[in-house]
Amino acid sequence: MPKRKERIDRGINVRSGDVFALCSWREMLYLAGPRFIPVFICLLLPLLLGIYWQKVLLSVAVFALLAISWDILAQTGMISLGQALFFGMGAYITGILNHYWGMSPVVTIPIAAVCGGLICTVLLLPVLRLRGIYFSMVTLILPLMLVRLIEATRIFGGTEGLTGMTPIPSKWLELYVIIGAMLAALFGFRRMLSSDYGLVLKGIRDNDRSVLNAGINIYWYKTQALFIASGIGAFAGAFLTHVYMFVGMPVFALDYSILPIAAAVVGGPGSLAGATLGAFILVPLSELLRGTGGLRIVFYGVFLVIFIVALPEGLFHFFQRKYHQFERWVEVDQ
């Protein structure tokens, strides 16, 4: 019997597109596998890793959240160079609430996420009309300004920062809360961006006048995206403050702005999953390169350049394409 090759995904796409009519476990697995396996690995990893790598994993999840936050903004056409603003704002709000009023992390972290998101949105409202590099410049400047403001006025502990925050009660809680938050943000916002609402956000990036011409107030939608993104960043900052039991000027550091962008670029922007994958590669890589001392940043830079040149679409899109191209042999009817 002659045979030919057939793409696996075609039939599955048709059967799961409009009417969900998958009938075999293999097909279900084809669709669910790429979602469940990473989730399973994320939940299993804390149990398998030593204390040092558990801390690295925590850092991965924090940077993944920042990268997701960056990607949501990028998909709405706002290229941010200042995720540190969101991160630092969340960190300081939770720090102040905990340090001065002794509030518990259960209260401070959600308040910091919402209020941090609100304050950052209000701070950036006047520049929402700016596009491209002009918006980016303002986001870059704001965290740098806040650092100098804290340094010059010595508010909130000045250069010393605030110490003695309430820690998260157990390291397991610490790990699973942040991993849970990362997975929830990843899947939740991926779903949001693939809905009609997400289409409007992406429409603003591609052609804002055309969206305006549909009677949609693009500035209101940009504000919503900005609030979501800054809320995610503020949550990450607030959480890490309770882990480190400290908040100070380093929370506005450039690392928190640049690394999420690098993660999104390496993983593949425009999917959120790519941004998360990028964080899972870059943060551990950065740790592995620690042994190289001063040359660390050189190696890191070389790695980034190689990645961008060799795989400009990003790792996630590359894997996704390959996955969709899986073929199987089928018999040809004579």
Binding site: D196, G203, D206, N207, R209, S210, G215, I216, N217
Partner: protein, 249 residues
């Protein structure tokens, strides 16, 4: 008995620095009328549309729509009141399939309000609307990515996006430019159908023959000023129009 005008433009002026793009533009538009706006390149036709639709703010003057002052209102609010427009340079979302391009106008607050907050399956409505403007359903053209569509389909898509908003006034900015005779001939019936449905239409055109076939009235602009206003025949007889198009000896 005269009916109240749907659109009333009075004393509209627009300066870009030292350039007077529109000078003292006045006209009225009755409900159900099809008005053509013509004029040489750079005469201010598109600027006039941008001023009416809120994409550019006028230096002075007034625009009343259904008796309501809409001068200087933001573009999205003017769309919600019932003016939809197409762009001379098509503005599709190139990475999306044609029918997904329709989702954004269907998501518009105006459409939500008109259909009572529910639109069921927007994809299905989008495919129906695209079929109306000539996206053959059997050929599955509507599923093609916008960047892969020829200009004729992109213009139809632009028209479908405007129709999706269920506007009272449709402004078509050089819809026929860049299209073949056959394509123009296939789009004309769609516009005629809009008229039968009672839509008021403004068409900016360089394709005068096709425009004059369907227009009730024509306005001619030159250097931002209205130089003629009347039926197609009256306008083409006007000495000022001949002078503007052909120059004087």
């Amino acid at each position: 008995m005269t009916t109240a005008p749907l659109l009333d433009v009075t004393g509209l002026h627009k300066n870009f620095g030292g350039v007077q793009a529109i000078r003292d533009l006045n006209f009225e538009l009755a409900p159900g009328e099809l008005l053509g706006i013509i004029g040489p390149n750079g005469s201010g036709k598109t600027t006039a549309v941008n001023l009416i639709t809120g994409f550019v703010k006028p230096s002075s003057g007034k625009v009343l729509f259904k008796g309501r002052d809409i001068t200087g209102q933001p573009a999205y609010r003017i769309v919600r009141i019932g003016i939809a427009r197409t762009f001379q340079m098509v503005k599709p979302f190139y990475q999306l399939p044609a029918y997904k391009n329709m989702i954004i106008p269907l998501y518009s607050p105006r459409v939500k309000k008109l259909v009572g907050g529910k639109y069921g399956d927007r994809d299905a409505v989008a495919l129906d609307l695209l079929e109306e403007v000539g996206f053959e359903r059997d050929a599955r053209v509507a599923y093609k990515v916008a960047s892969a569509l020829p200009q004729g389909y992109l213009k139809r898509l632009e028209l479908a996006k405007a129709i999706a908003l269920q506007p009272d006034l449709v402004i078509l900015d050089e819809l026929f430019s860049g299209l073949s005779l056959a394509e123009v001939a296939s789009i004309l019936p769609i516009i005629e159908k809009l008229r039968i449905e009672g839509k008021t239409i403004i068409m900016i055109e360089h394709r005068l023959k096709e425009l004059f076939r369907i227009a009730d009235r024509v306005i001619v602009l030159n250097y931002g000023q209205k130089i003629a206003d009347g039926t197609a025949a009256d306008v083409m007889d006007s000495a000022a129009v001949k002078n503007a198009y052909l120059g004087s000896e």
